[in-house]
Symmetry: C2
Subunit: 337 residues, 2 copies
C-alpha cells in the first residue's frame, strides 16, 4: 500500500468543492484505491471477474434447495449470458473468466469456459476431506494464474465469484473452524432453506467440524478438508493479487470464507481488500467482523456469482471520477468556509 | 401505480435463474419502477435532475460553516462542471437543469442556468416568513414546469437537488413543524458545525418554530413560512411528477423535507417515490421514518446537490438490466429446485 498516494488522495478530497467529508464512503473508496494503486488517479477499470464453478460432495447431504445438476446448468447459463452475473458483467463492462474447476458431470468443451477440472466435485466434507493436497495446490495455482492473466491484460480490480450447489455449507464449516464458532451460529438458509432445512444443514456442518476441525490444523489444512475448489482458487487468487498489488473486491458469503483463509495465511492480504456488500446470509456478519470489514452495500443480496461485487463497481467508478474531475476550492474560486 | 405491471415484474423475478429473492433490494427496485412506469421493461433512463440553487435569509444567523457567497460561487461551479453533482450527472448520463431561484446577488446570465429569481434570497425564518404567498405559488410552479419540460424530453426518472448555504436550517424547521418534533431532536451539523454551532442552530430553529409553527397552519403555509425556494420548487415538482406518473428519486436531507411537505399535501405522492440514501445528517432518519422510507444506500453522504440520488442511478440501471436480460429457468433449462 502506497501511504503517500493515499494521503495525497485524502488531501485532495479535502480541497474539492464540497463540505469536508460530505461524500462519505465514496471518498473512502477513492482514497483506498489510490493507496492500493499508488496513484492520484485511481480507477476500478478494467475490472476482472474470475468465476469459479464447481461441485461440492456435501451437496448429496441435502443441504440445498436445488439439485446438484443445477451447477452444470448454471455453468452453461453463465457462459451464454443468462445468469445475473453475466448480465451485470456485460453492463458494467467487466471481463469475466469462467472456470469449470470440477462439476460432477464433465460438460466437455464449453465456449467461454476454461476447463480446469480437478475432480468431479470435491469429497463430502461430512465424511472425508474436500480435497487432496495435490488438488488443493492445483486449485490455489489456478487462482494465482487467473490473477496473473488478469494483470497481463491490464486489470486494476479483481472480483472472484463462485457458483456451486451446496457451497454455503463448506464456506460455513470453514468459517466456523477458522473463527472457533459453533455450526448453529453461522449456518443459514443459503438459497432458501426453511428452518428445518437450516437445522439439518447445521448438523451436517457440525459433523464436518467434528471430523476435520482440529487445533493443530492451520488455515491451509482446514481449507483442504472443509473448503471447495471455488474457495481454494479464490484464496490463491487473493494471495496472489495482494502480492502483485491488485485491489481485491470481496463478494459475499462464500468468497468471504476465502478472504478469511487468505488473511489467516497472510494477514497482509487484508490491506488489499474492499468489501462489496453485507450478505443476507446471517453468518456473513461474523465473517465481516473477523475481517474488520464494513461492507459498502446493504441490499439483502445473497446470490453469489460475484454479483455483489459487480453491483459495487459503478459506485467505485463514480467515486473515482468525482475524485479526479471535481474542481478544487481554488480552481473554482469557492470560499472554503 | 400499475399494480398489474408490478405483479408481472415480481412474477418474472421469481422465474429468473437465481434463488428466489436472492438479488434482494435490486429486485425491489425493478419491481417498483415497473409498477410506476406500467411496463415490463422498466428503466431509470433518461434521468432528469432539477437543480435548485437559492439563498436563505436565515444564513445571516450564522447557521453554516460557509459564508453566503458560496451559493453564488457554487452556482458557477455547478454550471461549469466542477461540482460533485456535475461530475456525477455527466458520468451517469443524466440531463441536469440548473435554476437560480434567488441567490442573494444576481449573477446575471450564466450559461446553462435558468434564471427564475424570486427574490435575493428568502426571508430570515427566525424573524419573518421565508416567502410571500405569491413567491410560494411561483416556486411551486417552477418545479411543476421543470417536470413538464423533463417529460416533454422523455425523462423517466426525476431527481431534485439543491444548493444554498444555510438550507439545512429551513429543512430542519419545516420537518420539525410537520413531524411535531423539538428543534433539538432534528438539528444536526449540516456542512460540519461543531457541537456549539449545532446548539446555536437548534436555537435558531426553535425561534423560527415559535414564530411560525401553529396548529392551524397546513403544510403549504408551513412551507411558505419555514421553507426555501429550493424546497418549495421541489415540492411542486414532486406533486407534478406523481400527477403525471414520473418516478421520483428522493435525495437527502433538504429534499426529504420537500418530500414530507408533498406527501402531507397529497399522500398519494408517496407511491411515486424511491429513496436514494440515508443521509449522515442525524435528523434524516426521523424524516425517513415519517415517510415510511427505507433508503437504499448508507454511505454517510451529506452533500445534497442530488448527489445521493445520482449515486443510486447506476444501481437502478443494473437492477433493470438484470430484470430484462436474465434468462428464466425455462429459457436456460435450469432446474427450479
Amino acid at each position: 500500500i502506497d501511504r503517500q498516494a493515499a494521503d495525497a488522495a485524502r488531501a485532495r478530497q479535502d480541497q474539492l468543492t464540497k463540505p469536508r467529508g460530505s461524500l462519505g464512503r465514496l471518498e473512502e473508496m477513492a482514497i483506498r484505491l489510490a493507496g492500493m494503486q499508488g496513484t492520484a488517479t485511481p480507477t476500478p477499470d478494467p475490472v476482472r471477474i474470475l468465476q469459479f464453478v464447481s461441485d461440492h460432495g456435501v451437496s448429496t447431504e441435502g443441504v440445498s434447495l436445488f439439485p446438484r445438476e443445477v451447477t452444470l446448468q448454471m455453468l452453461h447459463n453463465i457462459a451464454r449470458g443468462g445468469a445475473a452475473v453475466s448480465v451485470m458483467a456485460e453492463s458494467i463492462g467487466a471481463v469475466m473468466e469462467i472456470f469449470d474447476l470440477g462439476i460432477a458431470t464433465d460438460p466437455g468443451p464449453v465456449a467461454g469456459v476454461r476447463s480446469e477440472r480437478l475432480a468431479p466435485g470435491t469429497g463430502n466434507i461430512a465424511r472425508e476431506p474436500a480435497m487432496s493436497d495435490e488438488q488443493l495446490a492445483r486449485a490455489l495455482d489456478i487462482g494465482r494464474a487467473g490473477v496473473d492473466r488478469a494483470l497481463d491484460e491490464g486489470a486494476r480490480l479483481l472480483i472472484c465469484g463462485e457458483m456451486g450447489i451446496g457451497n454455503t455449507t463448506p464456506a460455513t464449516a470453514l468459517a466456523c473452524a477458522l473463527l472457533g464458532l459453533e455450526a448453529s451460529i453461522l449456518t443459514g438458509p443459503g438459497t432458501g432453506l426453511d428452518a428445518q432445512g437450516v437445522s439439518r444443514k447445521a448438523q451436517v456442518v457440525a459433523t464436518a467440524l467434528e471430523l476435520h476441525a482440529r487445533p493443530e490444523h492451520g488455515p491451509l489444512e482446514l481449507l483442504r478438508r472443509l473448503g471447495g475448489f471455488d474457495i481454494a482458487a479464490s484464496t490463491g487468487a487473493f494471495i496472489r493479487a495482494a502480492q502483485r498489488g491488485l485491489p481485491i473486491l470481496v463478494d459475499g458469503f462464500i468468497i468471504s470464507s476465502a478472504a478469511l483463509v487468505a488473511t489467516r495465511i497472510n494477514p497482509g492480504v487484508r490491506d488489499w481488500m474492499l468489501f462489496s456488500h453485507g450478505s443476507a446470509e446471517p453468518g456473513h456478519r461474523h465473517m465481516m467482523e473477523a475481517l474488520d470489514a464494513d461492507p459498502y452495500l446493504h441490499l439483502q443480496m445473497r446470490l453469489g456469482e460475484a454479483t455483489g461485487g459487480a453491483a459495487l463497481v459503478p459506485l467505485l467508478r463514480l467515486a473515482c471520477v468525482v475524485h479526479q474531475q471535481m474542481a478544487t476550492f481554488d480552481e473554482a474560486g469557492v470560499s472554503k468556509g
